[in-house]
């Protein structure tokens, strides 16, 4: 995935062998008014309310859907607001006060589609895992731990699980908690929707942590790395969904929108659009759809993940102390070990560019904090002249003769090996595994993680969109994070989210002081435990209006 200069260093003038120019690649026009906004743009709100509904009367469900239809936020709306917010924040150098929006999106389980459209329609959606649903079988497939005395990992889930999948799943989000509460009340089915209106069976508020905004409960900044989605939001003037500040490569390597943000074809996230070939990334025609109304829809994965913050903190402290007594790990601190397990320091600074110490300034620099490769010395970014961007003055990510700087089983490596070859292909295959994460923490922060647990639930509402749950979310969880052997080699599990039947997992770390042997750290248990979830389909707005809301064949 190495970025290359247009004129390589050993051929600077390109006189006898002119540097080739990349041919422009035609990107599709995205139907920004028909796609739900959270899929490609992301709500990016500090307050988010999730509501799970069970359909009782189908006519009532359709009437309710028709009532809330105008509240569904489109990609056009969300993208434009995000752009405005970003513009204002750049000028103010802080979040703009008073600039607030409240959004709503929704999705349907297999049962929900079957009830509102037909069982055939639900079965025709192109994903085996969606059809099966996130019950016992898929939960076992993901390696979810069994609660004591149970034979079904989902038996104790708060929402979802075997035979308890919600039919409809709502995401309501806002910059303002009061506005969020009002919108939830407006949208939530009530008495006016009839006695057999959809029944709320679970709901929960997620909040950005005020103690550490943007950080999940273990204390690490979350959501730094997201793929850039290809596609136009307007042909005239020509506007990309994902702005580009880098020159396109000329050597066939992946194209990046900005340093560390590869461009991925929209067909990997939304049905009905071109996707990238897993060998060379070239544009491929969209996968044919069994129903025209599937277009502009996306599969949504929800996982309610409890985090045992005190347990994780205690483990890291004890493991760091033990490792620090070993040759090659002298001086290892708990913060450093935590960074090696995640691949990033709590600030978000990548270990690849900050091997020994956290670098908060690097973490804040959006053009630098995700700019690193795993197999070569990462070249400096080749910015477009008109971008006005320049590389930050931070150490580049360099290869090491001392073993990988970022452990190969670190969380960020396991879920995105970047340019490193994997057991199933190259850097372009890895792009086909990417997901669009839309998670937010729930529960209060633990005041003093070193002082034990307080018995209060906390964790992450993990949400992600993709075109294939099988090929993307499940593949990442089951084939990579749970697998001690890949990718790329036998360096262990992802100790953050990886799962194993025995709960025990391990990771091999290279020494932080050259010349010594690596060490294996074994974790006796998991600190992230699923306590809810579901697989859903987020249809286009027109599909909700024309197919799911219809009454007796009429919209």
């Amino acid at each position: 995935m190495a970025r290359r200069k247009t004129a390589p260093a050993d051929n600077p003038a390109g006189a006898s062998n002119p540097a080739p120019k990349p041919r422009p690649v035609a990107e599709p026009l995205l139907d920004v008014h028909d796609m739900q906004g959270n899929i490609l743009a992301g709500f990016k709100k500090d307050h988010q309310h999730l509501i799970a509904l069970k359909i009782r009367g189908i006519p009532e469900a359709r009437r309710w859907l028709a009532r809330v239809l105008p509240h569904i936020s489109s990609l056009a709306e969300v993208h434009q607001f995000n752009a405005l917010f970003k513009m204002r924040r750049a000028r103010l150098n802080r979040d703009p006060h008073g600039l607030a929006a409240t959004w709503m999106n929704l999705a349907f389980s297999h049962d929900g589609i079957a009830k509102l459209a037909s069982a055939d329609d639900a079965d025709a959606l192109p994903d085996d895992s969606f059809r099966l649903g996130l019950g016992k079988e898929r939960s076992e497939f993901l390696g979810d731990p069994l609660p004591a005395g149970q034979t079904d990992p989902t038996a104790k889930w708060f929402v979802g699980g075997t035979g308890r999948a919600p039919d409809i799943f709502l995401i309501v989000a806002s910059d303002c908690p009061k506005q969020l509460a009002l919108e939830v009340e407006r949208i939530r089915p009530g008495a006016a929707d009839g006695p057999d209106a959809p029944e709320p069976i679970w709901d929960e508020r997620g909040e950005t942590r005020t103690a550490q905004p943007g950080h999940e409960h273990f204390g690490f900044r979350d959501g730094v790395s997201q793929p850039g989605v290809r596609g136009l939001i307007s042909r005239s003037p020509k506007m990309y969904l994902t702005p580009r500040v880098l020159k396109p490569p000329v050597d066939g390597s992946p194209e990046f929108a900005k340093p560390g943000q590869p461009l991925v074809w929209p067909g990997h996230f939304v049905l009905g659009y071109p996707f990238g070939d897993r060998r060379d990334g070239s544009r491929q025609d969209s996968v044919p759809l069994a129903r025209p109304w599937f277009k502009n829809g996306s599969f949504l994965v929800f996982r309610r993940l409890n985090q045992n913050v005190a347990g994780f903190t205690a483990f890291v402290a004890a493991a760091a102390a033990k490792l620090a007594a070993e040759p090659g790990f002298d001086g290892l601190t708990p913060a450093h070990l935590g960074a090696l397990l995640v691949g990033r320091w709590p600030s978000g600074a990548p270990v690849s560019r900050a091997p020994a110490l956290d670098n908060p300034a690097l973490a804040k620099d959006g053009l630098s904090n995700n700019d690193f490769l795993f197999t070569v010395d990462t070249p400096p970014p080749d910015f477009l002249p008109r971008s006005g961007a320049s590389p930050g003055a931070f150490p580049r990510a360099l290869e090491s003769l001392n073993g990988p700087v970022c452990p190969h089983a670190a969380h960020i490596f396991k879920v995105n090996p970047r340019d490193h070859v994997t057991d199933v292909g190259n850097e372009f295959d890895t792009l086909t595994r990417r997901i669009l994460r839309r998670g937010i923490p729930f529960g209060p922060s633990l005041a003093d993680p070193l002082n034990g647990d307080d018995g209060v639930e906390r964790g992450l509402h993990f949400l992600c969109y993709q075109a294939s749950i099988v090929d993307q979310f499940e593949f990442l969880q089951q084939d990579w994070t749970n697998n001690r052997a890949v990718p790329p080699t036998a360096n262990g599990h992802d100790l953050i989210i990886g799962q194993s039947p025995t709960l025990e997992r391990s990771i091999t770390l290279s020494p932080i002081v050259p010349g010594a042997a690596g060490q294996t750290v074994t974790a006796p248990t998991q600190w992230v435990t699923p306590t809810g979830g579901g697989y859903f389909f987020a249809p286009s707005i027109s599909a909700i209006r024309n197919v799911l809301c219809r009454q007796d064949g009429q919209p």
Binding site: A2, R4, P8, D10, N11, N17, P20, R23, P126, D128, L132, G135, E137, R138, E140, F141, G143, T151, V250, D251, G252, S253, G267, F275, R278, R279, D280, G281, S282, R283, Q284, S286, V287, T375, V376, L401, D419, V421, V424, G425, N426, E427, F428, T432, S468, V470, D471, Q472, Q478, D479, N482, N483, A485, V486, T489, A490, S500, P501, A517, G518
Partner: protein, 370 residues
């Protein structure tokens, strides 16, 4: 690494009590390595140092890094779905077996499914042994070869079934139509593994002078293996990354392609239990498995077709193969003092073709394939 001989794959016991045969096998492996060194030597830049070596004839006594596994998935990449949500083409990966027809399974892992009269799968046999090892046995120790068939395939196997005109027939019916004793795909040979390892020690640069590191492009550029596979790009990239660090490279003894492990944690039987004991290693050892059977242990009321993976019934052996991780093991010197200049590609990997997505037709001199 310095050794005085090569052992048989997986340290199998085929040569026990027969030192002359063991010596001949070691000599054959040594020939493979010498050819690999010769190819790499012919490719590196003038004045450079070949970074691939034969650990028997030119072993290095200096310290090595810990052995490095290079891993890949056992299900052929070419049969994966063509786009998001498109399921793998399991049926194409295992069409009805026929005498004389090699299996189109090219990740150094092949399988054969036993079925009952209702076409339900009762057992799946996996092998990752190169056909050239069996050709060696056929030429040097036919009785051992026949005994292996009788042990692992059927007591009914006769020597006459395996030989044609005195030459061992790799594609005999016991290894194609009726069972799988060893690998049959033209690319699945031990010699190919060694040569691929050697070829991958050559640093390459593209037509713009930029060093090639991308796995598939490296395969095409170096004209080794097949970039359409999981295995060859992984092996090539893994070796080449160590080479770029200036190290000397060889393959760990015993040289072989191995089943590393199966991830069967999500396999379930109709009564909800796991398939503990179903994946049985019958040749080799855990982590260095040469042959395994996925079948019910004695006394089980279920058959393979009763197994579900995440709720999906097993209808093809490829569904199990997809949960198998393969590996080989390389050894790299701790010293890192060799810095050969990258050389041009054997098969040019210009640049324009990649921006349009039309990849050049791969050339596969290392692994012939079929």
């Amino acid at each position: 690494m310095k050794i005085d001989h090569f052992d048989p794959p997986g340290n199998n016991s085929d040569f026990v009590g027969n030192p002359a045969l063991a010596k001949k096998w070691s000599a054959k492996m040594s020939q493979f390595f010498d050819e690999g060194v010769s190819r790499a030597n012919g490719a590196i830049s003038a004045g450079g140092t070949c970074q691939f070596y034969n650990p028997v004839t030119h072993g290095l006594t200096a310290p090595d890094l810990p052995p490095a596994d290079i891993a890949w998935n056992g299900f052929p990449r070419k049969f994966l779905g063509s786009g998001p949500g498109v399921p793998p083409k399991f049926d194409l990966a295992e069409p009805p077996a026929a005498t004389g027809v090699p299996r189109d399974q090219d990740e150094y892992l092949e399988w054969y499914a036993n079925k009952d009269t209702a076409e339900k799968i009762t057992a799946i046999h996996f092998t990752c042994e190169g056909y050239d090892y069996y050709q060696f046995l056929g030429a040097e120790a036919p009785d051992i070869l026949v005994a292996l068939y009788q042990k692992f395939i059927s007591p009914a196997v006769a020597k006459a079934d395996l030989f044609s005109g005195g030459i061992y027939d790799v594609l005999n019916h016991w290894n194609t139509r009726d069972a799988a004793m060893h690998l049959t795909h033209g690319a699945n040979a031990l010699e190919a593994e060694v040569l691929l390892g050697g070829d991958a020690t050559v640093r390459r640069k593209n037509s713009a002078g930029v060093e090639v590191t991308s796995p598939d492009v490296l395969c095409t550029c170096g004209a080794f293996g097949d970039p359409r596979r999981n295995s060859d790009p992984a092996i090539g990239a893994g070796v080449n990354a160590l080479v770029r660090q200036g190290r000397m490279i060889t393959l760990a003894n015993p040289v072989g392609l191995y089943i590393d492990h199966i991830d069967d944690a999500s396999f379930r039987l109709p009564d909800g239990s796991a398939t503990n004991g179903w994946f049985q290693i019958v040749r080799g050892s855990p982590g260095h498995t040469l042959r395994a059977i996925f079948a019910p242990p004695a006394g089980s009321p279920f058959i393979v077709s009763d197994v579900k993976i995440g709720g999906t019934p097993v209808k093809f052996g490829g569904q199990i193969a997809q949960k198998i991780t393969m590996k080989l093991t390389g050894v790299a010197s701790a010293s890192n003092t060799i810095h050969n200049a990258p050389v041009p590609c054997v098969v040019p990997v210009g640049t324009a073709h990649l921006t349009t997505g039309a990849a050049p037709k791969p050339k596969r001199p290392t692994r012939g394939g079929n």
